[in-house]
């Protein structure tokens, strides 16, 4: 029961972070499942993807309704993405748990550095930048 509540709360927190910061949930799901719930790195990643897929469908419908999807770019990126994803997932499944977890940890640290750098750069501006469109 405690685990059930914990997983729903994880989804809740990840959903809040994703919507408030414009990030995907994957960078929240994987570390929390591994560090707090003790999941194997591979299972954490597979489970993360199983949440991302339906979430992305819902988000795409909302974006498409607002006219925010450029299909002529999305289709080739998505098709190449399928090939890349199958290659990446097979590499991940071949790697041992320890190595994959460490690689993921490095990936997170890099993202954190990039986020701070980006926030600091916006902070340094005297006026908000206009939309580049």
């Amino acid at each position: 029961m405690l685990e059930v509540v914990g997983l729903v709360v994880l989804g809740l927190v990840a959903g809040i972070v994703a919507a408030a910061l414009g990030l995907g949930g994957g960078i929240v799901f994987v570390p929390v499942l591994v560090v707090i719930f003790g999941f194997d790195q591979h299972i954490a990643q597979g489970t993360s993807l199983a949440v991302i897929f339906p979430t992305a469908i819902i988000a795409t419908l909302a974006h498409a309704r607002m006219g925010n999807v450029r299909w002529r770019l999305a289709i080739p990126i998505g098709l190449a993405g399928i090939v890349g994803a199958v290659v990446g997932a097979n590499v991940a499944l071949q790697l041992n748990e320890d190595l994959l977890r460490r690689l993921f940890g490095f990936f997170l640290i890099m993202l954190a550095v990039r986020m701070v750098w980006h926030a600091w750069r916006i902070n340094g501006r005297s006026e908000p930048t206009p939309d580049p469109s």
């Binding site: 959903g15 960078i27 993807l49 199983a50 988000a59 990126i77 199958v86 997932a89 986020m115």
Partner: protein
């Protein structure tokens, strides 16, 4: 093939590989790629990126699923929470300083990352 199409294919291949390797969506690659490389506005980049993630996450999920590396029950429970969370997050985003939120979140990510590396 047009230059734009080649760029789109290269971007998709790299983002898909990251998505499959780390079990994330890949938006972290696609969004900046669309903005900086293909000159899309932020809002269109978000929408277009989300559409590409439908395809790449399906392929990566299927690959992990076939090898038995998906906990479907856990995924369902997380999904229930995240639908509600997205709604709360949209509300918070309009009221909290995004910079403070971003730096606080980055700190948590860095701590989690260090724990996973060690």
């Amino acid at each position: 093939m047009s230059r734009i199409l080649l760029k789109a294919i290269a971007l998709g291949a790299v983002a898909g590989m990251i998505a499959g390797l780390f079990g994330v969506g890949g938006g972290v690659i696609v969004v900046p790629g669309l903005v900086l490389w293909l000159a899309l506005a932020q809002r269109e980049a978000s929408g277009t990126s989300t559409a590409t993630i439908v395809a790449s996450s399906a392929a990566a999920m299927a690959t992990f699923g076939v090898s038995g590396s998906v906990d479907w029950r856990a995924a369902g429970l997380i999904l229930v929470g995240s639908v509600v969370g997205a709604w709360i997050g949209a509300w918070i985003a309009e009221r909290v300083n995004e910079r403070v939120l971003a730096v606080a979140f980055a700190l948590i990510l860095a701590i989690a990352g260090i724990r996973m590396v060690l």
